[in-house]
């Protein structure tokens, strides 16, 4: 077994967030949902897209970091996976975009 895979601990051991912090994260997610619905009601035109997607990004980061324990992850490869996937997707969308907006 190589070094980066050693010192593994099953996730269920209480080295991650506490029960209370899970509930706190849930509360934050609900508040953010309420916020994004409220913001959408204001008719902010184009800013609404940025605000709504920004809030969605914050919400999913909370889920990734706390519910999915990415914040407590010690393996580099797993930490990098989501940025790699998002990056690949950004490139796919970006280069397609370069065609669609200039056509």
């Amino acid at each position: 077994m190589n070094a980066d895979a050693s010192r593994e601990m099953p996730d269920a051991r209480p080295h991650g967030p506490t029960t209370r912090s899970y509930v706190a994260v849930w509360g934050a997610l609900i508040v953010l949902t309420a916020t994004t619905v409220a913001v959408a009601g204001f008719n902010l035109q184009k800013i609404a897209i940025i605000v709504c997607l920004g809030i969605a990004a914050v919400k999913s980061t909370l889920v990734l970091f706390y519910f999915m324990h990415l914040r407590y992850e010690h393996r580099l490869i797993i930490k990098l996976l989501i940025p790699i996937a998002i990056g690949a997707l950004a490139i796919f969308i970006g280069l397609t975009f370069s065609d669609v907006i200039t056509r």
């Binding site: 099953p10 849930w26 519910f67």
Partner: protein, 199 residues
């Protein structure tokens, strides 16, 4: 290091790789959405006004709560409280059914208004609205399939927790199912504003 911890480490990397592929699978649809939205902003605006924001919000709350439940199920299992853990898994499954029921009513209402693929009413609307609803059905449909698969996976986990084949020492399957379920939640976190909120 014992064998179960090895298997756990491998399973965790495997499931995260799988999650990456799921992100890219939905990513193809997000790509289409962004390109079509770019070309038809007014029609997408009109389309999203047709959707029921209350039901969308309700479903968001349901899924977030289900994510909390599955996180707490793993948390309880880690503390050795198997019974409690099973209850939380059951609650997650209940939330998943709740989500599907709400979705069912939403879809049926749209069908009654003739807003389904290839329907005369939908085809008579501007083309951008047809695209909006096409993507709406494709993306929420694919997400719904993932919810159904999640129900199946979590049901198996429930049985295994009750039977004692998932234990505090050997939680890998439950942990990985939880990761999958959180992914389903994250995808909805993005679908919700894209279809219901941005007008």
């Amino acid at each position: 290091m014992n064998a179960s911890e090895d298997a756990h480490a491998a399973g965790r990397l495997g499931i995260w790789l799988f999650i990456s592929t799921e992100i890219i699978l939905f990513g193809g649809l997000f790509l289409l959405y962004s390109m079509y939205r770019l070309k038809n902003p007014a029609d997408f605006h009109a389309g999203s006004l047709e959707l029921n924001r209350v039901l969308g919000t309700l479903n968001t709350v349901i899924l977030i709560t289900s994510s909390l439940c599955v996180a707490l199920a793993i948390d309880s299992l880690g503390k050795g409280r198997t019974r409690k853990s099973a209850w939380f898994v059951a609650a997650t499954i209940a939330c998943a059914f709740g989500f599907l029921i709400v979705k069912f009513f939403e879809w049926t209402a749209k069908f009654h208004h003739g807003l389904y693929p290839n329907a005369k009413v939908l085809l008579s609307l501007p083309k951008g609205e047809n695209l909006f609803f096409g993507l709406y059905y494709l993306m929420t449909g694919l997400h719904g399939v993932h919810v159904i698969v999640g129900i199946g996976v979590l049901s198996v986990m429930l049985v295994r927790v009750l039977r004692g084949t998932i234990t505090p020492q050997n939680p890998t399957y439950l942990v990985n199912s939880g990761l999958y379920w959180h992914l389903v939640d994250i995808i909805w976190i993005f679908l919700f504003p894209l279809f219901y909120l941005i007008t």
